[in-house]
Amino acid sequence: MATIREKGYHHWEGQLRDKPWNFWPITRTGIKLAFERRRFKLLFVLSFLPAVIYGVGVYVSERLENFKFMAQGVDKTLQVNPGFFRSYLTLDLIFFEILLLMSLSGAGLIADDFRHKAIQLYLARPLSKSDYLLGKAGVVMFFVGLLTLVPGILLFILKLLFSGSFKFFLNYPWLILSIIFYSAFLMIFFTAFVLLASSLSNNRNYVIAIMWSIYIFSNVLGAILRIIFHSPYSALLSLKANLDQVGAAFFLVKPPYDYPWFLSFLLLISFCLLAYVVVRRKIRGVEVIR
């Protein structure tokens, strides 16, 4: 007795399941593709450098006695308090790193799909446009989160470990929430920013140019206008300034600019909403069947 497997096509005996997080393959694939790009891995690892330095800072501030010989006045500047965390999360360098990583991995998220007409393939599946966008958003959130939320929490834990007590936590019980909420805010903002830019062109390089020019231009504009008009409100034009303002507020520290932080918050939220509307519109314009 012998059996031979029939040649040709075999039907699949499995079940197609409608999963609640069916956008997850999109996120996972986006992350994988990001790591396959040449310089990405290196840049990714290097972007944790500030986190490492701050980590060392936490250690140093605890063992200040051992380092007293190194410099005077160090104890004045190196204090681990909410300002410390806030300064990490609003570091110019961090934003720069985010933009850099996103240039390599985020710029093409939607642009490439436009260019290679892959959106048709996605939308022909039992995926809604929201699923598609959520999947793509996940990629940005993943990387931004790794640079903000995760180091933020780790630094916090590190502080607790090095100080050997919960005293720090009890002093600032709201701090962990600040870290989480501000990181989340950054994640949402950058997701909106990157996906908006990516949906505006089908050429990845143009998207990178758009991202950088908006960011740099807005900051420069804000600075120039501040010099000309001496008004603190001119900071509203600068993306970085707005993020700083909101960051300060979340950490209950004095905001750097002299106007209600709420304005910055609203501005950034409106930006995110605008981005959402534009991106949805762009996707909706894709005809799955011509």
């Binding site: 040709g8 039907h11 409608d18 999963k19 393959p25 694939t29 599946r125 799955v288 069947i289």
Partner: protein, 303 residues
Amino acid sequence: MNVDLKNIHFSYGSVKALNGVSFSLREGATGLLGPNGAGKSTLLKVMLGFLIPDEGEGRVLGYDLRTEQKFIRQQVGYMPEDECYIPGMDAVTFTSYMGELSGMSRQEAIKRAHDVLFYVGLGESRYRLIDTYSAGMRQRLKLAQALVHDPRLLFLDEPTSNLDPAGRQEILELIREVATIRDISVLISSHLLADIEFICDEVVIINKGLIAASGRIEDLKMINYQLYELKIKGELNSFKKELESSGCRVEETEDRLIKVYTPPGFDHLEIFRVAARNNIQVRQFVRSQTSLEDLFARVVGVD
């Protein structure tokens, strides 16, 4: 009945695209034809769950058109006309990714991707990056991603576009094979009538928002018992004269085809006798059938 639509109406604003279309599909391959703007793509969008009809109802693969669109899209395989792929991936990753997006688990999708890639003839190249694929290979890959989740309804849009003659032939043969798979309905939309004739048994012609003709191609192309198409070797003139004197009408077309219209009751063997008498070799002899092109022209009501 894999697809059953009744009396579908759809308008884009004031433009009526579908004006009461009833349509059904069984197993096997069906061609969908129609002039541009006839309502073809609208019908497809309604059928595949992208548009909700204004009026009318139907079921596709057992799912309701209006309320279960997501399920329809789960069970349908779509091979778009455009060149579409995701760069930076190899064929297995791409195909299994698409399978996952249709609802398969990761393991199942990967296993199935390998099977399907072998089936479409990309087995040897399945670990290569898609970016390096030729046009013909990308077409096969498109077919693979349409088959990976084992759909019961396969829709192919201009499957041979962008291919050179060799590539066309190969894809057509592959699709014809797919059309013979048990339990699958294949719907092909194409302007290349030769492709449709090669693959499909049935055809549906849509025009101005209505179904103008549908049925088996063989039945629609009526056999004309009075007209024979010949190719010969030898001098035409005396052959022609003699046939005409027995009541036939003889025409020569551009590509050396001889059309012989015979009177009722004419014994076709007589053609061979006349040929022999006039030193003619008959090298082709076919009872004429309306070509699909003529059928299309007649049905769409022009010329």
